[in-house]
Amino acid sequence: MSAPAEPSPASRLRRRRRLVIALRLLVLVAILGGWEAAIRVGLLDPFFFGQPSGIAVRLYEWTTEGTSVGPLWLQVWVTLYEAGLGFLIGAGLGIVCGIALGRNAMLADVFSIYIKVGNSIPRVVLGSIFIVSLGLGIWSKVALAVVMVFFVVFGNAFQGVREADRAIIANARILGASHWQVTRDVVIPSALTWIIASLHVSFGFALIGAIVGEFLGARKGMGLLIATAQGSFDANGVFAAMILVAVVALAAEGLLTLAERRLIVWRPEEARGD
């Protein structure tokens, strides 16, 4: 008889992973089950707190019959459109301004004070101005998303430019690079790590901008869906919309990670990790 075989490290790892998944499911079931049970025995009032089964029903109704403000896919699409457009414009502006100010001391000295002031204003307040000046259509939401994204990306692009390796810049200059060539061939590639990191975070901000904008006043969108549900004291509706937003945000996050991996292919310092 041989001694009982030691489990191989691979199988031990697999077993641990399975345990983690099982525990995660257990937590989910405990929370949802506890919530539902508390409603059923009368501990919580479903009018104020909603209930998981009600939320599921509301989501089902929305997908099959449409929402009170129109078909569900349209609300999701409008919000995504606003957030995506705001993200592209805000990120583009942030990158260009960050690099320009990072590379030009005069520009930085002149504008840094305004950027600081702009950054200190709570962005959500700007939503009211945008609704007044740009109306209830998509542009007031796009503008809010742009503002949300801009400062994050700008800050990172600016910092990335400032962190560019002095020795590499000196080397490029000696090798014959002009100011513009240094910017294009040294500063931008080395700032890219910073910029990409900021893009990842800032799509979430764009989504917040779009939804808050819709919340303040809109004809379509997930923000409007939440506001409408709130207005009719429909707790299940608010939770259902929340879940939708979470799903959309997670999907966008996944897409961005994929895009990032594509970019990483030519980034040697990251490729090393593979």
């Binding site: 200059r173 590639p189 040697p268 310092e269």
Partner: protein
């Protein structure tokens, strides 16, 4: 200086380097050797006084200059080929890639054209840096402790590599190092600097025959004699730094 303190790194610093001459500068750490090279390269401006190159005051970066840095200054996002071809590409020269391939072969890195710097060893990266600099055929080559980060064996190989490349190119070389042996092995003249403010304490001509085999020369009696004399001089300087 960020804190507003100004340190006179150089004072009455005077050193002439003839065309085609290999001149090494040795001095205690922090005496302003790197500052000197930065001034000659045009990377920094002197607060007072002037640096002359080819008989004219330095105003910006001269195209006839090459600079090999102490740290790794390769472009990490470019392949070996892209790194070596950078100079000709920046300068708008034609067939940059063809010339780059030639120089990569000359420093013994043929086959590594598509590798990225992080995939190479320290010695190989230095070879890329040498090819990157020599491809511009500089008349004046400034080197700031280029081999100080390498292990002893690699350093010796790189010193021979440098001498071989220099023999083909024959520009003037200003080689800063804190390694006295390295200075003597490579240079025609060795200038020993004083502590801050840096002055040229003395200049030693090195009458060792060329071409030199670095590995063998190390054990040559003539080399040892010169090394001892210079070491004594340098020790005096180091002791002065300690006392102040």
């Amino acid at each position: 200086m960020p804190d507003g303190n100004v340190i006179a790194a150089l004072e009455e610093f005077s050193l002439d380097v003839a065309p085609g001459e290999f001149c090494a500068i040795v001095g205690p750490t922090g005496c302003g050797k790197s500052t000197t090279l930065g001034l000659v390269a045009g990377l920094a401006r002197p607060q007072a006084g002037s640096v002359e190159l080819f008989g004219r005051p330095v105003a910006g970066i001269d195209r006839r200059i090459g600079f090999v840095f102490q740290q790794d200054a390769l472009f990490p996002w470019r392949s070996v080929l892209g790194n070596v071809a950078a100079g000709p590409r920046f300068r708008g020269g034609r067939d940059a890639d063809m010339r780059a391939r030639d120089w990569i072969a000359r420093v013994g890195l043929g086959g590594f054209e598509r590798s990225y710097p992080h995939q190479l060893s320290g010695g190989m990266r230095k070879r890329v840096a040498l090819a990157q600099t020599f491809i511009n055929q500089p008349d004046v080559l400034l080197m700031d402790e280029p081999f100080s980060a390498l292990d002893v064996q690699t350093r010796e190989l790189m010193q021979e590599e440098l001498l071989a490349l220099w023999t083909q190119n024959r520009g003037a070389v200003l080689f800063v190092t804190h390694d006295l042996d390295e200075a003597i092995l490579l240079a025609d003249r060795v200038a020993v600097l004083t502590t801050r403010p840096a002055r040229v304490k003395s200049v030693y001509p090195i009458h060792l025959p060329r071409p030199r085999q670095v590995a063998e020369l190390r054990y040559d009696v003539r080399f040892i004699e010169i090394a001892r004399q210079l070491a004594d001089d340098l020790r005096e300087e180091v002791m002065k730094t300690r006392r102040s």
